[in-house]
């Protein structure tokens, strides 16, 4: 059995990037997420909303990927805001107290609106 995981990114309101993750994010697939975030952040996009709605599973290897980038993104004036987690995924963030470091929103829209507006 192969672990299925996909990550896609698209522009959203307020000059944010919506990064949608789907499937199972574990020690096997975490590198896919890391590569995707590396590419997005490497382009200079640092206002990120991660849409967890279609993510069924996360282990600490998945959480660790966000840790790798969060300081760099905030230093550049951005943030990684997390949104729309299923309860079983939210539980893992709760277990480790990740709310101390990350803002977690019920919906993608709320996460997007939590970013300050940018003058166009």
């Amino acid at each position: 059995m192969t672990t299925t995981f996909t990550v896609t990114s698209a522009t959203a309101d307020r000059r944010t990037i919506r990064v949608a993750v789907a499937g199972q994010l574990d020690a096997h697939t975490a590198s896919d997420l890391e590569a995707a975030l590396h590419e997005v952040i490497g382009r200079g996009d640092v206002r990120l909303v991660v849409d967890f709605a279609a993510l069924d599973y996360i282990s600490s290897a998945g959480l660790g990927v966000f840790m790798v980038f969060i300081e760099q993104v905030r230093a550049a004036g951005g943030d990684i805001k997390l949104a729309a987690m299923q309860p079983k995924v939210h539980m893992v963030f709760d277990l480790l107290g990740f709310q101390v470091l990350f803002e977690i929103y019920p919906t993608v829209d709320e996460a997007v609106r939590a970013f300050p507006e940018v003058a166009s």
């Binding site: 059995m1 192969t2 672990t3 199972q24 574990d26 020690a27 096997h28 975490a30 599973y57 282990s59 600490s60 290897a61 959480l63 660790g64 990927v65 840790m67 790798v68 980038f69 969060i70 300081e71 760099q72 309860p87 079983k88 539980m91 893992v92 277990l95 480790l96 107290g97 990740f98 101390v100 470091l101």
Partner: protein, 148 residues
């Protein structure tokens, strides 16, 4: 496949992260009828994933020619899951608790697995076994609810 009766089951996986999804399915299928809530089942499955992911990465250095045996025992008032390997011995009890802010500052991506295991399970014991002490057994125990 779910077996609600008291039973034990075992599986052997290669020391490769590609095996973890199947391992999670195996563990889930054998504990989901043991009286736990979905929340607890998810936690136990996560704890086993974390233990084996650590073994694969740190114990076996992703050498897929090595193997891990996992035994699920659903016969007693506790469920017990044994994880056996032949890697360098490692006792999770000696791992310090992670400091969230320091980990972020250091851009650390790992080090959470043991904390998860400790928080989810009721007991975790490490036992060196075998004549040479070269084989390790990690036992994770979760009390089954008496009345739900």
């Amino acid at each position: 496949m779910t077996d609600p009766s008291p039973h034990t089951a075992n599986t052997t996986i290669a020391a490769a992260t590609s095996e973890l999804a199947a391992l999670r399915d195996f563990v889930r299928s054998h504990i989901m009828a043991a009286g736990f809530t979905d929340f607890e089942v998810n936690g136990i499955v996560l704890a086993i994933d974390e233990a084996c992911a650590n073994l694969i990465r740190h114990g076996y250095h992703n050498d897929a020619s090595k193997t891990i045996d996992v035994i699920v025992d659903v016969t007693g008032p506790d469920i017990r899951i044994d994880i056996l390997d032949t890697a360098t011995s490692f006792d999770p009890a000696v791992v310090p608790r992670p400091d969230m802010h320091r980990y972020a500052a250091d851009r650390r991506r790992g080090g959470w697995g043991v904390a998860i295991m400790m928080r989810v399970m009721d007991a975790i014991t490490y036992t060196p076994i075998g004549a040479t002490g070269s084989k390790n057994r990690l036992t994770l125990v979760k009390h089954r609810p008496l009345i739900r």
